[in-house]
Amino acid sequence: MTSRGPMGNDRMGKVCVILAVLSARATAFALRLLGRRATSMPGLVALRLCPGLLGHLLRQLDAFVVVTGTNGKTTTVALLHAILDGQDQPWIFNDGGANLTQGLVSALLPYTAVSGALRHRRALLEVDEATLPGIVRLRAPTLLVVTNVLRDQLDRYGEVDHALACLRAGVRDASTTLVANADDPLCASLGLGRDLTYYFGIADAPQDGVARSEARDGAFCLQCGAELEYTRFVFAQMGDYRCPAGHFARPERHVAGSLPASDAGRLGVSERLSGSRPVDRFDLPLTVAGLYNVYNLLAAVTAARVLGYSPARIERGLGFYRAPTGRMQTVCETPRVVLSLIKNPAGATAVLRAIEADAVDKTVCFVINDADADGRDVSWLWDIDLESFVPRAKCAVWWCAGTRGPDMALRLAYAGVERSAITVVAQLDLVPGHVMHSGEPVYVLSTYTALHALSDMFAVQRGRAV
């Protein structure tokens, strides 16, 4: 970014903003005429014409809430938006996970007057970790939520260390309130030596007693390199941990969740936002499926509490929550088809746990692409804990598709699936017909670039079935 404002406050700057807003509107209109989703393109056009536009817009906000982290950003934003919105003032947010610079501009543009003035002054934005440092330079968030720090798309960002460096840059401004995951050592380390930090975590979760081999990315002390000692694992590197030399341990949770023993139960929450206050207890409906989503729910609840929303208002807001596209989204009812995004080992393993908990006979399909947005390196497929999933999956027929369908088929064979039970589908549009044929419930796990196409295709199938 070269200029601070659009171009200072001069005439040229104003002309630049007006041109950018008008062009972006025309682009969004044209995309709608073509029946395409307008997630990033209008923002891209606007930024080409006026590189300073995003800073100009962000600096007008009174409340600027950012959600970042490796997994769960989109679900957390959807949960938090359900809680915050529909109250006294509306919140701008980016649904659909367009979380790079052009996607953020696209989210703000519908609320931007031609003059460049924002009509609403509160925004809740999902921001990609790598984009975060650039955004924070334009405008420090009032509240920053970090869901977790896991291994993701190695080829895009190098390594976990790079993601962590981006997040550290994101929390540097002392005026930003940080909401972070206490159970994730990498995420929790962001709050070291920092005021205005609130931690969430899971205090009690039923254990299934199965020894799992999972990728544990943050399981080392950042100061001395010693392996962290865990007294309890929730999943991936989440749990109760401490450095054996005493440098670092799981911080106290300001908001702690307790999972109910039965599916019908509610999430118990115990809260202590400041040391001088007594512990408050309340419970909330468990509006999400899967243990990993409980962390997202706790992240959203903690952020809402810090923003001053009461438990009663949070409960009312959660009633408006709908799962975003491909986040354990039911895309068809008969047969039931559930679509879920997978993009890294910890996230995919967590999704498999949730699928395994549905103890019916089922069909499972993996759609693996390797475009930039999916991660071009598919070695992450070998870090998914399929070995513990396959014997518990209650699945007799397995399907693979996408540009890396053959890689996934091979991965399944090594995880213990009979080779004769695996079929690779060469064309994406043939997937719904194949997987729905038996009438069993279907779980489709897909990487990012096939997700929306699959969602649309299953919607068409649903239309036919009625």
């Binding site: 080829d155 190098g158 392996e227 071009r376 390196d377 598919v378 070695s379 053959p406 890689d407």
Partner: protein, 257 residues
């Protein structure tokens, strides 16, 4: 038959590119031929007993993890150097390849000393060499074999050495992005930047390691063929993605050129 003993070195640190996939392939291909397998993980700081060991695997980690490993390498060097000299099969991938050598020079000029099993130097370059990769395997004298190896590479280090290369780059960057060579073969050592992981889609490389291991036990016989339909389908899909239609036609083109 005494179990085939495989050692996975420092898996808790060097596992960046799903290197346990390579172990799974070696184990599976041995088991499918009726040989028992014994995989041992040696964590950093634990003693390494090389008696009766058939294959060693050394994977890659992040820069931070590799520095942690490098600090502890001197205690392992004498035994590993002796074993490498005696021709023990060692598969080293990406960061593991760099750690086998003399040193890795960071952008700051600081040098991380390696195991010094081979006379190999790696220096950080300005850009990341990243993407799908395909090479043609070379004989020790540098002749093309017509056999392809496919996978993914992702490294900042530029590696130079005088040993026979693992392959000749058909698509991708290889050792340094300059000389068109990829990896290293010396005695039992197979070192490469190709992950993905390496062995699932390249069953012939896995079998080469198994054959070397058996030969060292005095069992010099061909390996029973396995059903590798899935393996070659995945291999060929990468070749096609890279505009190399399949192994056979690569060979024909190489012969013609």
């Amino acid at each position: 038959m005494k179990p085939l003993r495989i050692i996975h070195l420092f898996p808790e640190l060097l596992n960046l590119y799903a290197d346990q996939g390579n172990i799974a392939v070696l184990r599976d291909r041995a088991l499918r031929r009726g040989w028992p397998v014994d995989v041992r993980q040696v964590r950093l700081g634990e003693t390494l007993d090389l008696a009766g060991v058939d294959i060693i695997l050394l994977g890659g980690g992040s820069d931070r993890e590799q520095e942690v490993v490098a600090r502890a390498l001197p205690m392992y060097r004498p035994d590993l150097a002796h074993a490498a000299d005696a021709g023990l099969p060692i598969l080293a991938v990406c960061g593991g390849y760099q750690l086998l050598g003399e040193y890795y020079e960071l952008a700051s000029g600081e040098r991380i000393t390696g195991l010094r099993l081979v006379d190999v130097a790696t220096r950080a370059g300005g850009t990341r060499l990243i993407g799908n990769v395909a090479v043609e395997r070379l004989t020790p004298s540098g002749q093309g074999t017509g056999e392809t190896v496919v996978g993914f590479e992702n490294h900042v280090g530029r590696t130079h050495h005088e040993y026979p290369a693992f392959g000749r780059v058909l698509r991708g960057h290889g050792n340094n992005g300059e000389d068109g060579l990829e990896g290293l073969c010396h005695k039992g050592i197979v070192a490469t930047y190709i992950h993905g992981p390496l062995l699932p889609k390249n069953p012939h490389v896995a079998d080469q390691l198994l054959r070397t291991a058996l030969r060292r036990r005095g069992l010099d016989r061909p390996l029973a063929p396995l059903d590798d339909t899935f393996e070659w389908a995945a291999h060929k899909s990468v070749l096609q993605m890279l505009g190399l239609s399949d192994g056979g036609s690569v060979r024909e083109r190489l012969v013609r050129s």
